[in-house]
Subunit: 367 residues, 2 copies
C-alpha cells in the first residue's frame, strides 16, 4: 500500500530514523533540513511499499557515507545525493529508477526523500540494513548476492567517481571508503542498483514507516509529559522488530573518540542514576553503537539496535554528539529475526567487528 | 612523418625507454614481454609523429601507475591497459582514439604499443613527461591546462573505476593514487584524454624515437666493446635533450627503500671506483631518481634525467632493482628547455618534491 509522506511528517521521521540509526546514520537536524528544503515546493512524496513495485522496476539506494564527525566541519552542499543517484541512473539507462534508503538514520533516511522530492518521484519504504551499519557490504542486498557496483560517489565539489565493477562487495566497501577518505572524509553514494524482484527478496521492509512511528511516539510523550524511553520501547514492536528494552539510565562520564580509517571509532562510559546508581556501563562504537556492556558484561550487541537517548527529550544522541554530563537512557530494540540468521551474523554480528563474543539476545531486565 | 615500429625494435626501445625512465617507469623486461606478446601476430605498428595528427583526432595516454616494487609480487595480467583505454574511449564516444605514452619508461613506453598492437591502430610518438615522474599531474598536459579526468583505472581483476570529474589535477592524482593503493599498490590508468590540437600544444615529442635511439646506442656499444655510458651520453643529444653527462662511476654500497603512500621512496649510496675513488655519492628517489649528490653537493636534480646504468651492459637499473655491490655509472641527461620553465619547475622541480634547493643546471664535469 502506498501512502503520502508530507512535510509535517519530517520532524517525526528525523527523530525516529535517528533512533534506528543506533548512533550513526547522520545527524537528524541536518537530515531534516535537507528534506524540508527539497520539499519546500511540494506537499507530499508518495511512499511505495515493496509489494507495490513491479519486478522490473529499477531501485537505487542512496546515502551519505564516511565519518559522521566530519560532517560537523564539512556540511553537505545538498546536491550530492541527486547527482550520485542521477549519474548511476543514467549509467544504467534506468530513467525511471526510484530512490530508497540504504540504512535508517537521521540523514540517511532523509537522503532518498530529498532525491524523490527533487525528481518528483516516489520513494521506496525499505532499506538494506534495517538500522545503520558502518560498512557498505553490511546490507541485506549483499547477503542476497546482489552486487554493490556499479556505484557512483559524489562530493560537495560536484565531483563524481564511478565504481564500475569490483571483484566483490568487500572490495566495493574498501575502494569506496578509500575514495571517500581522500574526498575529505565524507561523500554520498548511490549503490546496489537492483530491480523490484531483487528488492522483494532482499530488502528490510517498512523502515520509513517505523521511523515515523517511533518519532511520533517521542513527540506524543513530550506533549503528554510521559517518559519518552518507555514510549519508544512500546512503539518499536512493529514490522518484525521487538519491543524495546530500557537497558540503562545514567549520565555520560567519558567519551573517547577518534576519526580514523574513514570511521568515527570510540567508546562512551556511563554511570547509573536513580535505581541504576552504582552501576557502570559502556558502549563501543564504530560510527554506530556496537556492543553495550553493563558492569563489564556484554548485555546487548549488533545487530540488535543500541541507541543512546536523551532522557528528557527522547532524541537519539548520535556518536559524534556524545559528550560529558549528558543524562541519557540506553534503548535496545531487538532486530528482526531475518537480521540474525547465521549468514547475517557473519556479516554484522559482534565477531564481524572483531569482538570475540558470540551473539546472544539482549538481556530483558536491568540487573 | 610516420614510421613503422617492428618487433625487432622492441629490445632497443625497452633499453632506451628505461634510460629515460630515470629509475622509474617500470621494469624493461616486463615491458618488452608485454609488447612482444601483443605484437606476436603482426609485423609492425605505425608510429605517428605529433604533426601527423589532425586537430580533432582523439588521443588517450595510458600507463601503469603505483609503486614499481609492487610489480615484483603482483605482475600485470596483461589485459588492464587495453581495458582502461577502451573504457575511457567508449565513455568519450571517441571510437578512433589512439594510444600514447604518459611517460617514458621500461613498461610505460610499451603499454601504448601493447594497446596499439591489440587494436591494430597507430601509436603517437610523444608523451606528457619526457621522462618518468612519480605523480600524475607532473605532465605537460597538466601544465597546458588539460584535465586529467575523465580517467579510467583498471586492475588485474578486470575491475574498472571511472574518475568522471574531479576538481583539479592534484585531486585527480590524490584520488587515483588512493584507489591504486587499495587495488593492491598498482593499476593501469587511461587519462588526460585530448584531441590533436591539444597534443600539438602540450606534448613532449619524439620520445619513442629517442628511446629506440638510446637503446640502439647501448646495443651497438655492446657489439663493438665500447663504453655504453659514453655511447648513451652521445646519443641523448636529440629532440631537445642535451648531450649526456657521466656524473659518477662506482658501486652501490647501501640502499634504503620503503613502499609507502603508494610510492617506492628511498636513497641509494655509491662509492667511487677508478678515478672516482674516495668520492661518495647518493641519489634520493620517489619511484624515479630525483636528486644526485656528489660528496654532499647536489649536482643534478629533477627535471634533468638522472639514471643509474649498469657499467657493463649499459642497461638502466630501476629503483626497485638497486642492490648492494652493483657496478654502475650515473648518467645525467639535460631535459629539454620546455621542461625547465618557471611554471614547469613549480610542478616538478626539486621544491615540488620537498627539497629546499633551487633548480640548477647539472654540473658538466666530475670533480
Amino acid at each position: 500500500m502506498s501512502w503520502e509522506l508530507t512535510r509535517n511528517d519530517l520532524p517525526a521521521l528525523a527523530i525516529g530514523a535517528a533512533i534506528l540509526g543506533t548512533g550513526g546514520g547522520g545527524d537528524p537536524y541536518i537530515g531534516r533540513v535537507m528534506a524540508e528544503s527539497a520539499m519546500a515546493s511540494q506537499k507530499s512524496i508518495t511512499v511505495l511499499s515493496v509489494d507495490d513495485l513491479s519486478d522490473d522496476q529499477w531501485v537505487i539506494p542512496v546515502a551519505g557515507m564516511g565519518a559522521p564527525t566530519v560532517l560537523f566541519e564539512k556540511p553537505p552542499r545538498g546536491t550530492e545525493p541527486l547527482q550520485a543517484f542521477q549519474r548511476l541512473r543514467d549509467y544504467l539507462g534506468a530513467s525511471d529508477a526510484l530512490p530508497c534508503p540504504i540504512e535508517a538514520g537521521g540523514i540517511n533516511s532523509m537522503v532518498p526523500l530529498q532525491v524523490a522530492a527533487l525528481l518528483k518521484c516516489p520513494v521506496v519504504d525499505a532499506d538494506g540494513m534495517g538500522r545503520a551499519f558502518p560498512e557498505l557490504y553490511m546490507q541485506t542486498f549483499h547477503l542476497n548476492g546482489i552486487s554493490g557496483t556499479p556505484a557512483c560517489l559524489a562530493s560537495e565539489w560536484g565531483e563524481t567517481v564511478l565504481l564500475e565493477s569490483l571483484r566483490d562487495n568487500y572490495t566495493f566497501e574498501w575502494i569506496a571508503r578509500g575514495v571517500t577518505i581522500r574526498l575529505g572524509g565524507h561523500s554520498f553514494v548511490a549503490q546496489f542498483p537492483m530491480q523490484g524482484a531483487a528488492v522483494k527478496r532482499a530488502a528490510i521492509r517498512g523502515t520509513l514507516s517505523l521511523g515515523i512511528r517511533l518519532g511520533r511516539a517521542v513527540l506524543e510523550a513530550a506533549r503528554s509529559h510521559q517518559d519518552p524511553l518507555a514510549a519508544l520501547a512500546k512503539a518499536s514492536d512493529y514490522a518484525g522488530y521487538g519491543e524495546g528494552i530500557i537497558a540503562f539510565r545514567g549520565k555520560i562520564v567519558a567519551v573517547t573518540r577518534r576519526t580514523t580509517d574513514g570511521f568515527a571509532r570510540g567508546e562512551v562510559v556511563l554511570e547509573g542514576l536513580g535505581d541504576q546508581r552504582g552501576t557502570t556501563a559502556r558502549i563501543a562504537f564504530q560510527n554506530e553503537n556496537l556492543v553495550f556492556y553493563r558492569d563489564g558484561e556484554a548485555v546487548a550487541m549488533v545487530p540488535d539496535l543500541i541507541t543512546v537517548v536523551d532522557s528528557q527529550t527522547g532524541q537519539a544522541v548520535t556518536t559524534e554528539r556524545l559528550q560529558y554530563g549528558q543524562r541519557v537512557g540506553v534503548l535496545v530494540i531487538p532486530a528482526p529475526a531475518v537480521m540474525k540468521s547465521d549468514a547475517a551474523l557473519k556479516v554484522w554480528g559482534p565477531s564481524a567487528f572483531g569482538y570475540s563474543i558470540s551473539y546472544r539476545e539482549p538481556l530483558t531486565a536491568m540487573s
